[in-house]
Subunit: 155 residues, 2 copies
């Protein structure tokens, strides 16, 4: 770590106190083969939107300015699409082994609101040696908000 | 905001003190048409990796455990692929108007290290009414680390 920078432990404390949902990171059990399912869910709060906005630099008013966002067709603020997609990164990182993201593709179908719990459901569609393709749907209360795929390499 | 949750201002202070690079959010000038270019760059530090890891729940040891990561072919920790992609979200959010992400596709070609400055270069490849497709390359020191595209809607 460079001078003046803080690590995960200190950021975790701030995050938790600020209303973030700390998720335990644990690997899935057993071997994954085509047809195997991976599920994961996480609530996206104010602090997640702020964390994503600052880490990326995406301070789009649609995510931060309630007044401006209320004048759009969404009628209010929404979560960054790529923050929803990031939950897929977390979901597939749970595959046993060292997981490396190779490729991704997503379509965003409906807005996600601050405070929504997003559920990720993935199905392994291809496995060739140590490379997997996983088809993914993200949903809020049963409504699909994003869908796509990722390809990962597992060491 | 819900009880106990903090907003962007408070998180920004923490982020900046923790070594994060605060980027000013400003819109691009002029009309964008096919061939128009968008560039953006940001340094990704420890705090960005921690912010992304906590917001997503992706605490993959490849991003957080130097000892475990040093035993992989990467020889050390790398930044989440989707954190690199998130800079594309920030880049296209600078298009004048209210920008909504519709679709994205990325391939990850080379590792990004904690502390690297990632440069995003986008070229508008299609414009149909208020929908744009943008081809994107992300690079570190001239080496392409990710490439792909996004589609956005502008209100």
């Amino acid at each position: 770590m460079g001078g003046g920078e803080v690590g995960l432990k200190e950021v975790s404390s701030f995050y938790s106190e600020a209303g973030g949902e700390l998720k335990e990171f644990k690997k899935l059990d057993g071997e994954l083969t085509p047809g195997s399912r991976i599920t994961y869910e996480k609530r996206l709060t104010e602090v997640d939107v702020a964390f994503f906005g600052l880490a990326s630099g995406d301070l789009n008013p649609l995510h931060f300015d309630e007044e401006a966002a209320s004048r759009t067709r969404f009628g209010g603020r929404v979560v960054h699409g790529m923050l929803t997609a990031s939950l897929v990164s977390a979901a597939v990182a749970r595959i046993p082994g060292t997981v490396v993201l190779l490729e991704e593709g997503f379509k965003y179908l409906a807005p996600v609101r601050v405070g929504d719990t997003v559920r990720v459901e993935g199905v392994i569609s291809e496995k060739e040696k140590n490379r997997y393709r996983i088809e993914v749907k993200c949903s809020v209360g049963g409504k699909v908000v994003a869908e796509g795929y990722v390809r990962v390499l597992v060491w």
